[in-house]
């Protein structure tokens, strides 16, 4: 199952201390309420935010718990890495646990680069006390002389947004402060730390993938993320980020050869990952350098074994960067696959031609709009080319080509 509909009893609704009213809806349903998740509108499945609100909207509200998101990397792995960092940063803010695996950069380096969440200006109500009888000297300093109408309004302070909100915004120009990042529990898997244990096996899976799968299972079982685990403590979500699977650093030759020897290593691993996730409260984001994989059919099979699949195509370094049509965007985003878990029909996004732009405070994904063609040179060029046709038209008399460029 991707997400449990009825599970462990409600661990107690966390009431926000800043409620303006005391009315709280009585939830009689047995849905698991974990901070940072919400049930889907379509089929009640538990959803988790990816950290990018426009991507959440595209995927139908968020990532389903128990599902895998595959990101086909762009050429220089810049934007796919950015989305992975958004995903992990969202986990830190929502107080989920993280699991990060990488073969190239140390997980600690990636964690240091997480974007900083944008602080919310939250109003803190002043505690209602008895009216002051004598004015203290401190009060006279705080008493407003000019904007005295605002004297009694609650003070405003910048705090980290409460984790009860779904989807946060991040400032890419700043990195997350160390104390916030270290408050999150993160399990790391750095491939060079796990030397090859050569056990004779006929399994098509490589040792690196086997070690990763084993480490994942240990974390899931020890920390109690299995759905069936009956623990009295409150449940939490495990966010798994797997960076650049299938690249040569994992020992896989998918990206190097046309007919790879280990053609089934990554697919077997993804099957095992799906098996683990379906029975636990975890979400995984996997990035794969698909532009290096020559075999399109194999890439299709890899996408089929993941639930959601998107591909990023950045304009950096290609001729599209200088193309005036694409000047508002950083790249194109293709939605390869949208899952339909626990239901018959999937909710495809309405439009398939999407482009993304990484702004400082937002990663926006929108429908590709071509800018209006306002250049004056268009008609001028065509007029220069016309004289030959115009002269023949007068000779033939019935040629219609001269009428194409009616100029008033």
């Amino acid at each position: 199952m991707a997400a449990p509909m009825s599970g462990v009893g409600n661990p107690g609704v966390k009431s926000s201390s800043f409620n303006s009213t005391s009315f709280q809806k009585k939830t009689r349903s047995k849905l698991l309420s974990i901070p940072g998740t919400r049930p889907s509108v379509q089929n009640g499945q538990l959803l988790v935010s990816t950290g990018v609100t426009s991507l959440d909207f595209l995927l139908g509200g968020g990532l389903a718990v128990g599902a895998v998101l595959l990101i086909e990397e762009d050429r220089y792995d810049s934007y796919s890495r950015m989305i992975l960092k958004y995903f992990l940063a969202e986990g830190v803010v929502c107080q989920h646990e993280l699991f990060l695996a990488s073969a190239q950069d140390s997980p600690d380096d990636i964690l240091k680069e997480l974007p900083s969440p944008i602080m919310d200006d939250v109003a803190i109500p002043k505690p209602m006390e008895q009216p002051r009888l004598s004015s203290d000297p401190q009060d006279s300093l705080e008493a407003m002389k000019i904007a005295w109408r605002y004297q009694n309004l609650p003070k405003v302070q910048s705090t980290l947004t409460s984790s009860s909100r779904f989807g946060h915004y991040y400032d890419v120009s700043k990195t997350m402060e160390a104390e916030i990042q270290q408050a999150a529990k993160c399990h790391r898997f750095y491939l060079p730390d796990h030397p090859n244990q050569t056990a004779p096996t006929h399994s098509p899976m490589l040792e690196s993938y086997s070690a990763l799968l084993k480490s994942l299972q240990e974390v899931i079982q020890k920390e109690g993320f299995e759905v069936a685990a009956s623990s009295s403590k409150s449940r939490n979500i495990l966010r798994i980020g797997l960076h650049s699977l299938g690249s040569s650093l994992w020992g896989d030759d998918l990206c190097c050869c046309d007919n790879p020897k280990h053609a089934h290593a990554l697919t077997t691993f993804l099957y095992g990952l799906r098996a683990l996730l379906r029975s636990s409260l975890a979400v995984a984001v996997v990035t794969v350098p698909s532009h290096l994989i020559q075999n399109r059919a194999l890439m299709g099979r890899i996408a089929k074994l993941c639930d959601t699949a998107i591909a990023l195509e950045s304009f950096k370094g290609s001729e599209m960067e200088t193309n005036p049509l694409y000047k508002d965007y950083h790249g194109l985003l293709h939605v390869r696959q949208v899952p339909h878990l626990n239901c018959l029909a999937s909710q495809f996004p309405d439009h398939r031609d999407l482009a993304f732009k990484l702004k400082r405070k937002q990663f926006s994904i929108e429908r590709l709009h071509l800018p209006p063609d306002l250049s004056e040179t268009v008609s001028r060029v065509s007029r220069v080319e016309l004289p030959g046709a115009a002269s023949t038209a007068s000779v033939c008399g019935l040629s219609t080509s001269a009428n194409k460029h009616l100029d008033f």
Binding site: S210, Q217, A275, K304, C343, L344, D350
Partner: protein
């Protein structure tokens, strides 16, 4: 169970044809709604169903079948449904622990060269079951084997020949010997002339040669459309006993929350 599909295929839960091998092929799209249809259809027809659910969890099939009006949990308790949950059973093989061996049926995961013999033995034991297995319980109808999906076995490293052998053994046992039906789903990627996906293409060709009915599902050739999810070509490969020569039919379909509707090309409700 989709009533429109039943009328297309000329079947109903009271009157099912026996000894059929039905192959559902999907080309770069998702035809699992047909598997859900056949599952609920055969359960309603009171057949004994053996379901190899290799790609999704049991609760997924159960949730969808609930919407189609059939309860898988009840069917399992009554003994009508034998469900192999591939994902759950495979963990023990993929992450070997000492002392904890998974069920034998999936031991090809550990060593794909061994072939699918144990999987076939599971099928034979659950479908076969002579009267001795039933005992005082109710009599179920003809056995049916449903496989979702056969091409994931190729992704796990099993060779095409082994999968074709497995399907041949299943057909010989279930279709010929026990007069039951077999429904399988095969997923292909690129178009036929591409050399990239040889394995799945070979498998599809081998299965189409043996089958009695194929349902080929693919996306629209003109691209993505919100109101028409794709087209389905129904192809009977054996001549009908009543002499009718209806060999091929083409439909377009749209999948809803609780079913799917099939219509002739150009008659989509969005267009008319």
């Amino acid at each position: 169970m989709f009533t429109e599909l039943n009328s297309i295929l000329n079947t109903s839960p009271d009157k099912i044809t026996q000894g059929e091998l039905i192959v559902i092929s999907e080309r770069r799209c998702d035809a699992s709604f047909l598997i859900h249809h056949f599952l609920s259809f055969y359960l309603r027809a009171r057949c004994k169903v053996c379901f190899l659910g290799l790609v999704q969890s049991f609760s997924h099939y159960s949730a969808v079948s609930q919407r189609l009006g059939v309860s898988l949990v009840q069917a399992k308790e009554k003994g009508q449904l034998v469900f192999l949950e591939g994902l759950q059973e495979s963990i023990a093989h993929l992450i070997p622990h000492e002392g904890k061996a998974g069920s034998d049926a999936l031991n090809f995961i550990r060593d794909p060269t061994r072939g699918l013999q144990s999987l076939f033995e599971l099928v034979r034991d659950s479908c076969g079951g002579p009267a001795a297995a039933l005992g005082p319980e109710e009599e179920w109808g003809a056995p049916v084997l449903l496989v979702d999906d056969l091409s994931v076995l190729l992704s796990l490293g099993v060779s095409v020949g082994a999968v074709l052998d497995f399907s041949h053994y299943c057909r010989a046992t279930v279709c010929s010997q026990l007069q039951g039906n077999v429904v399988t789903l095969v997923h292909c990627e690129e178009e036929e002339d591409d050399a990239d996906d040889e394995g799945a293409e070979q498998l599809l060709r081998g299965l189409t040669h043996q089958c009695t009915l194929t349902l080929q599902v693919q996306g629209l050739p003109t691209g993505y459309c919100r109101d028409i999810h794709g087209q389905m070509e129904v192809c009977w490969t054996r001549r009908q006993p009543d002499g009718q020569q209806r060999l091929k039919k083409l439909f377009q379909y749209k999948v809803y929350d609780k079913g799917a509707s099939f219509f002739a090309r150009g008659t989509s409700s969005a267009v008319l």
